[in-house]
């Protein structure tokens, strides 16, 4: 056990965690030349395409150092705030963390939030100044920033480049020298923490665990404490690039377990695995369930695909336990699901995975956060409003509460003014302002979560020219003035276009929604009035003029191919439209409210 090191790589988005992991794998000879590729651990297509990590990924390396053989268990984590729960789980399985800081970008919002997560779990922090190869790198200053943040010595900061491989040997030496070996007693009853699970369509659920005490053997009868279910360990092993079956995984080590479980919900991340006959007395406290932050309806573009959509969502949930959904119906769209997501990126990813992995074309409706409503009749009973149609009639409404977050924004001093105006426009209240250096400022706001959902990230990026990072965590509910803005097309309310909006913004947003819909809904053979309304009161109006001419004069010199391709493209677009009444609405129009400032 003294030669095992368990560590994770944490950082702000894009600071180079996965790339540094590549170099560690190369350097320790954990991958063959043939297996090598950039961000090897980002194994999902979507991760590779977007260049971001969505899921944590554990892998074991063997490394000889000063004549001794070491087993290094590494977990690469995502940087995006939507997936911070992945980071907290990974941290729980480790004794140390590499805190990566981009030498050009310095400390950013998630650097800090992930650092605190690691410190809360008493992890040994190894600061790594990454991307030192960049011409724009600023190693001295950024090292100072890190020293200030951690209170460490400048010599503790390892300079490295995931791109060139510079400093990798030092990183490995620090992992071995500075991170404590796991403690634990191999002779005690089995006590292992489930820190992740992956669904494999052929083998069922693969459970990833970290053994704290005792050991887990192939064939052993085990028990999951929280669910109180018993299984046989059909296969245990270590997580090399490919899984490597073993007879036994001992205290301090990380491994995977296959029990033939088909339902991912049986494996609760944070649960404790123990021996069924000789159970441990110390269940690990476990994790809080991840709570969805935004809700939106997901509907099939083609109503006939409802059952198939359900099946696809269920399968997706096996891979992604943070996705929750419940059936709902809409007058405009028919049957679909109200889904809860960790954030906007998560929502986008789910929609994209449905399309590419399950070939489901879906409509996602305007997202909203979860409100609490109280009626005059029963002012003490919470009505949870996850859907605009759940909001009680204004006349019966006593009050509404909305979720607030504490937002942390790190930006350059030059942009403080811009960022502040944006946050105030978004109903934020500044609670703190700290100059990290003369150049860099940390701002804290209490803000309604709902405001983050509506185009906050893009605006923040614009007003700060890209020099602002953002992190948040929920701080509870606060009173709110909420109205439902309905959209009428051809004088008919389209419920799927309704949005819950703060009363003060309703007028402006209603107007912008009409304008945006006018832009997005293709002209049809009749005029289509678009109206925004609060209750019976129309607050805005636009008209989509009828299409009268839809034919090109001539097919020039017999250029029929080009024309055909043009029309085929047009038809493809139509496949993504939904007929509501006699109006055809393109898929993206349902999310129009998110793009009002484009």
């Amino acid at each position: 056990m003294k030669n095992i090191r368990n560590f994770c790589i944490i950082a702000h988005i894009d600071h180079g965690k996965s790339t540094l992991a590549d170099r560690l794998l190369d350097f320790t000879g954990s991958v063959t030349d043939r297996e090598k590729q950039d961000q090897l651990l980002d194994s999902m297509d979507l991760e590779r395409e977007r260049g971001i990590t969505i899921k944590s990924h554990a892998i074991q390396m063997d490394y000889e150092f000063n004549g001794e053989k070491y087993v290094l268990n590494l977990i690469d984590t995502p940087g995006h705030v939507d997936f911070s729960y992945e980071v907290s789980r990974s941290i729980a399985a480790c004794e140390g963390a590499l805190l990566i800081v981009d030498a050009a970008q310095s400390i950013q919002a998630q650097t800090i939030s992930n650092l605190y997560l690691a410190l809360e779990n008493d992890l040994e922090i190894i600061p790594v100044l990454n991307k030192v190869d960049l011409p724009s790198a600023n190693p001295e200053e950024v090292t100072d920033d890190i020293v200030d943040l951690l209170g460490c010595d400048p010599e503790d900061v390892i300079h490295a480049s995931g791109k060139t491989g510079f400093g990798i040997e030092n990183v490995l030496a620090a992992v071995i020298n500075r991170i404590p070996a796991p403690k634990g007693n191999p002779d005690e009853p089995l006590q292992a923490l489930i820190f992740d699970s992956v669904y494999n369509p052929f083998r069922g659920v693969e459970t990833y665990f970290r053994v704290i005490n005792g050991s887990i053997k192939k064939g052993q009868e085990i028990k999951f404490i929280a669910t109180n279910k018993k299984y046989f360990a059909d296969e245990v092993g270590t997580l090399k690039l490919k899984q490597l079956p073993k007879k036994e995984i001992k205290a301090g080590d990380v491994g995977y377990l296959i029990t033939g479980i088909k339902d991912a919900r049986e494996v609760k991340v944070g649960d404790t695995i123990t021996d069924s006959k000789e159970p441990t007395k110390n269940a690990i406290s476990g994790f809080e369930d991840v709570k969805p932050m935004v809700f939106a309806g997901i509907y099939p573009v083609d109503t006939e695909d409802y059952e198939e959509l359900r099946a696809s969502m269920e399968k997706l949930q096996l891979n992604d336990a943070s996705l929750i959904f419940a059936p709902e119906s809409s007058a405009a769209l028919g049957f679909g699901f109200r889904c809860g997501f960790l954030g906007m990126l998560h929502m986008e990813i789910i929609q994209e995975r449905l399309e590419r992995e399950f070939d489901m074309t879906v409509i996602t409706t305007v997202p909203n956060v979860s409100y609490h409503a109280y009626t005059k009749k029963q002012p003490d009973d919470i009505i949870i409003v996850n859907n605009p149609s759940d909001l009680p009639d204004p006349s019966t409404l006593d009050r509404v509460e909305e979720p607030y977050i504490k937002a942390t924004i790190i930006t350059k001093a030059d942009f403080v003014g811009n960022v502040m105006s944006l946050c105030i426009e978004k109903r934020g209240q500044i609670t703190n302002q700290t100059y990290l250096t003369t150049e860099r400022v940390e701002l804290n706001f209490d803000m309604p979560l709902a405001e983050i959902v509506f185009d906050f990230y893009d605006r923040l990026k614009t007003v700060s020219k890209g020099y602002a990072s953002f992190d948040y965590h929920p701080i509870g509910m606060k009173p709110s003035k909420l109205v439902r803005v309905d959209i009428l097309l051809n004088a008919q309310t389209v419920d799927a276009l309704s949005a819950l909006i703060h009363a003060d913004n309703a007028q402006t947003i209603g107007k912008k929604m009409c304008e945006k819909l006018k832009e997005l809904i293709p002209r049809q053979q009749f005029d289509i009035p678009i109206q925004a309304a609060i209750g019976a009161k129309i607050i805005s109006r636009e008209t989509i003029k009828a299409l009268r001419k839809d034919v090109t004069a001539k097919c020039y010199g017999g250029d029929i191919s080009r024309k055909r391709k043009l029309l085929e493209k047009q038809k493809k677009g139509k496949k993504r439209m939904r007929q509501v009444g006699n109006v055809e609405i393109p898929q993206q129009a349902f999310m129009a409210v998110l793009k009002l400032n484009d």
Partner: protein
């Protein structure tokens, strides 16, 4: 049977709305004509010995060529292909080129059809489109041309901003007064990257008005019908016997070979097009490598093209042909997707009875197969592309 299209990529000046391929510099004219001649020779086998029924000089402005250049090109076609006895040979010509002298000369060549780019009989319209001719040139050339050619078509543009219905009507009346037997008439269209496009964007020109264009179109359909023209394709109106054979072959799936930069060809299950650049074209032909891009058509491509072209023409989309060529599933699908448009009065199904064989003596005329044909109604014509797209099958 097949056709040959020859593209003459030169114009005196650029009309504001035009996105065709042409150059206003005549410097390369000689080497280009040389290249055209060589391309005809190089590609003489592409039509697989099909006989040539139509030759079409398009552009650009083919009337910029002199008689001997035209002769040379026609002769080259004759020397390399088998041409039917009386082919239709069309020359696109602009009024400013058609002097009395030129018309007389042209009438002595094998060219037997003139397509004259009149566009409008009003000078203000011509100016606003930057045409190179004026209205009196048009009238004069028409009065002469009609004496020497009996097969004449003129181009007219409608839907020009601020063109009143009266003015449009007047344009048509003047056209009729010359007893032309064919009219090609197009709605002014704003193509990307044209001068017109930027003028409208900058507010220098008023934007196009679709309602106005539709009004003009309906008027055009009505009045040409009264004059005995058949509306046989969205933009083409001809007296019986005077339909453009060459253009019709585009819509009816006949083979054609396109010669010259940007020219398109069709070989049954393959389409091809030449590079749209005079210098590149000439260089490639000099190397004896015609700069052609080929595209093989899948079943779906062919079906979609049939729908697209069929709905533009009086011949419509034949259910028999769809069934034999694409199968009964495709036919059923087509019928189903067409229902909506039939209900809206944009498409209709016409039953065209036609005897499948001449009955022998004593036989009842019983094996008459009635063929249903899907066509655009007058109301649907102006929306034909959008309708076609919806009937498409995507792979």
């Amino acid at each position: 049977m097949a056709g040959i299209y020859i593209h003459i990529p030169f114009c005196k000046q650029a009309c504001y709305y035009c996105d065709f391929h042409f150059s206003t510099s005549l410097k390369k004219k000689d080497s280009l004509i040389n290249a055209l001649i060589n391309e005809i020779k190089l590609r003489k086998h592409t039509l697989q010995n099909k006989r040539i029924e139509t030759i079409y000089f398009g552009g650009g402005t083919p009337s910029l060529l002199n008689i001997s250049e035209l002769h040379l090109l026609i002769e080259t076609v004759y020397n390399n292909f088998e041409v039917v006895e009386t082919p239709e040979i069309t020359l696109e010509a602009n009024p400013d080129d058609l002097t009395t002298e030129k018309i007389i000369e042209l009438s002595k060549t094998p060219i037997n059809r003139l397509s004259i780019g009149v566009q409008s009989f009003f000078d203000d319209d011509l100016k606003m489109m930057n045409r190179a001719h004026n209205a009196s040139e048009s009238k004069k050339c028409l009065s002469v041309a009609t004496q020497y050619f009996n097969n004449i078509t003129i181009d007219l543009i409608y839907g020009i901003p601020n063109m009143s219905l009266q003015k449009w009507h007047k344009n048509l009346e003047i056209a009729f007064s010359f007893s032309v037997n064919h009219i090609s008439s197009y709605a002014l269209t704003v193509e990307p990257k044209t001068a017109l496009h930027s003028f409208i964007n900058s507010g220098k020109y008023p934007p196009l008005n679709e309602a106005l264009a539709l009004q003009h179109f309906n008027h055009l359909v009505e009045t040409t019908a009264q004059q005995g023209f058949v509306h046989y394709e969205i933009s083409n109106f001809g007296k019986p016997q005077f339909f453009s054979k060459h253009n019709t072959s585009y819509w009816q799936g006949k083979w054609y070979l396109g010669i010259g930069p940007s020219a398109h060809s069709f070989f049954g299950d393959q389409r091809a097009w030449n590079v749209s650049n005079n210098a590149k074209y000439i260089a490639a032909i000099e190397k004896k490598e015609p700069p052609v891009t080929h595209e093989n058509l899948s079943n779906n491509d062919r079906f979609n093209e049939y729908i697209m072209t069929g709905l533009r023409t009086i011949w419509g989309v034949s259910f028999n042909r769809v069934e034999t060529e694409f199968g009964s599933n495709t036919l059923n699908r087509l019928k189903k997707t067409a229902e909506k448009f039939i209900a809206e009065g944009l498409l209709n199904i016409v039953n065209e009875a036609k005897p499948s064989s001449t009955p022998k003596k004593g036989e009842f005329l019983q094996n008459t197969s009635s063929n249903s044909v899907l066509k655009t109604t007058n109301k649907g014509k102006f929306l034909a592309d959008g309708i076609a797209a919806e009937l498409f099958i995507l792979s």
